[in-house]
């Protein structure tokens, strides 16, 4: 038995047990031996190294359910290794990677490639999500059974929306037998058309084609009906409007097997942040108006939305320094997700316990990962956080290979000081 590590005097926030209390965390052999106010009842274990966490908060390591990496095929944007370093710096100990790579993760060998590369190069847990259809072409189903067995934790078309209702129905039906969940980001291609930002007055003044909120709802409503029809597990991966939240809310009350996610960007920002064509704010779904942002926060609060993701999407700066409509879509977010969410703690929008739940415990449950908990026996994946430390987001400090952050120059309150995976420190604030 190796010597223990003791995190003493910390505020422990563990949504898996509804715990928010001052106490001690004892880590032994990469697992939580005890965590809570009574953890020190037997005294400090002999030979333990003690980290004084007075005034600090210990949370289960975050689980980010939506991360785009560039490996394989776009390693200049992000590798699995660089994404994992960025994740660790953001207090994230597990990431679910999207299959939109080159080649697409639609085959057992490619799932194995991701897992092997992660094992050799990554400092946090990497769980690939595989494509629902071969090549993300929206036609033939992938080998959902074999892929699950190989380690794919979910199935998704990534940035794409399945146009065919039939393919979606079959995927939900087939995946159900394997207990696999289908993640789907919905946007009606025809209705969104050439749109590049939220439709409305602001887009009209900028002279940019808009994407109506209904473009998200229409395929989502279809999916919810198919989820009800099939009984399959469906996760609305990234909703952004009150219309979508209402649809999910209703489906949940009707007992449909549905969960929902939102990106931290859609909780923090709105369309006005685009200002004069700031392309780093070109996202999908587009940033909506303030009413929708407020409704997303409400949906997180009332449980309609289960998980919050970074939707980390590294893009080369060259593909962002273009006219707005020509610029690539997406923003990095691993390193700023927690701090951006803590804004909602500081301004009273969301309870801290709920914030950590949607960032950790709930996504762990969604993807059936052994994570998101500080329960005795759980893997010692955790982060030590100073909830109040002020810091400034600077592009140059980001560990991600791509610097397309929506939070450049943002003042944050709350910072990750140390991140552990299986009791081993993978990040420590200098």
């Amino acid at each position: 038995m190796t010597s223990a590590t003791v995190l003493s005097g910390a505020r422990i926030v563990d949504p898996s047990r509804g715990m928010d209390a001052t106490g001690t965390v004892i880590i032994r052999d990469g697992r939580i031996a005890a965590a809570g106010p009574e953890a020190l009842n037997q005294g400090v274990p002999e030979g333990a190294s003690v980290i004084d966490c007075a005034g600090k908060t210990v949370i289960p390591g975050l689980v980010d359910g939506r991360v785009f990496v560039g490996e394989p095929g776009g390693e200049h944007r992000e590798t699995i290794a660089s994404a994992s370093q960025a994740a660790a710096a953001g207090g994230i100990t597990s990431i679910v990677t999207m299959p939109d790579t080159d080649p697409v993760i639609d085959d057992v060998a490619l799932v194995e490639f991701v897992l092997r590369t992660a094992r050799d190069t990554a400092s946090v847990h990497v769980h690939p999500a595989a494509a629902v259809t071969k090549g993300l072409a929206g036609k033939e189903m992938t080998e959902i059974g074999l892929l699950s067995e190989a380690g794919a934790v979910a199935f998704t078309e990534g940035r794409h929306t399945l146009a065919s209702s039939l393919v979606m129905r079959r995927a939900l039906t087939y995946a159900r037998d394997f207990g696999a969940v289908i993640l789907h980001e919905t946007q009606d291609k025809d209705l969104a058309s050439a749109g590049v930002m939220n439709e409305g007055l602001f887009a009209s003044w900028l002279g940019l084609p808009g994407i109506p909120r209904e473009a998200e709802l229409i395929p989502l409503a279809r999916d919810l009906m198919l989820a009800r029809l099939t009984g399959g597990a469906y996760h609305a991966a990234k909703i952004s409007t009150s219309l979508s939240a209402d649809a999910v809310r209703l489906a949940k009350t009707e007992g449909v097997n549905v969960t929902a996610g939102v990106s931290v960007n859609h909780l923090s920002l709105n369309e006005n942040d685009i200002g004069e064509y700031r392309t780093f704010f070109r996202l999908s779904p587009p940033l909506r108006d303030e009413d929708d942002r407020r409704s997303m926060i409400e949906a997180v609060r009332d449980g309609t939305i289960d998980v919050v993701v970074s939707s980390h999407d590294p893009q080369d700066v060259d593909t962002k320094r273009l006219p707005f409509a020509d610029a690539e879509i997406g923003a990095v977010g691993l390193e700023t997700m927690l701090a951006a969410m803590l804004r909602h703690h500081h301004n009273g929008d969301l309870p801290l316990l709920r914030i950590i739940e949607v960032l950790s415990t709930a996504p762990a449950k969604l993807f059936k990962l052994e994570a998101g908990s500080l329960r005795p026996g759980a893997a010692a994946d955790l982060a030590i956080v100073d909830l109040d430390e002020p810091w400034l987001v600077r592009e140059a400090d980001l560990r991600s290979k791509s610097k397309n952050t929506c939070f450049e120059g943002a003042r944050m309150q709350g910072r990750v000081l140390q991140t552990m995976v299986a009791g081993k420190t993978v990040f420590k604030q200098e």
Binding site: S204, G207, L208, R321, L322, P323, A325
Partner: protein, 320 residues
Amino acid sequence: MTHDPDFPVYPHRHLLGIAGLTPFDIDLLLNRAERAVALSRQTDKKSSVLRGRTQINLFFEASTRTQSSFELAGKRLGADVMNMSVASSSVKKGETLIDTAMTLNAMRPDALVVRHASAGAVALLAQKVGCAVVNAGDGAHEHPTQALLDALTIRRAKGTIGGLTVAICGDVLHSRVARSNIILLNAMGAHVRVVAPSTLLPSGIGKMGVTPFHSMADGLKDADVVMMLRLQRERMAGASVPSVREYFRYFGLDAAKLKLAKPDALVMHPGPMNRGVEIASEVADGPQSMIQEQVEMGVAVRMGVLEALLDPRKNPEAGR
């Protein structure tokens, strides 16, 4: 070059749009343009006020009319004018934008006149260069010199802009001309209406400082100015309107519909016109038509803008 006491110094570095200009700025540009009208009507049309200055017309989207107008404006003021038409087909659109801007900037031009198919592209380019930039149209965003030339045309014909009722008719959704005009006309105190089928109006139009109408009969009633917009060909057949004939029937300006406006209403069109689509020849060539006048005012306004931006009282090295 000499100090020009007739006009105050124009307080902006670029002309990227009408948004952000005060009525004072607009008047200043129009007053300068007035003097350019006089110069352009002389036998000797050449001034030397911009002698030694270099103007580059950088058109990522073809436009013979606007480009010639800017070219002539620069030349009448004595500037050296170079035209560059950048085909967007060879390289992925936009990719060349910043590279091209940097390359041209290294040639130390004094003014860049830029047309681009993407909204915001001209502002993006302006961030990368050390000279004055004039937006000659960016996507569906703005076309400030068009709005200024329209304003000059109206002001000369009516004496003032404030208090007039101006009906802007047609494809407002895709029109940078409409946006610039809506902003300018509102700033100068006109009552602005838009008249179009709803499929050609942008979302939120009711909050853009205009009163929307969906019939010419209502929209043109008692109007002082009828401003027609061009309907792009690709939008004619089934996309935004069912057919040319239906569009002309309900929204094309002919003599009968023009009678609904005030008897002395001005008829305007930014060109190039689709005769028989948005405007009938009888009106386009009729006594109320200001369309040729608009072309003349176009050169004058661009002269006024270039003079104002390259005013020697400003620091020509600013931003280099």
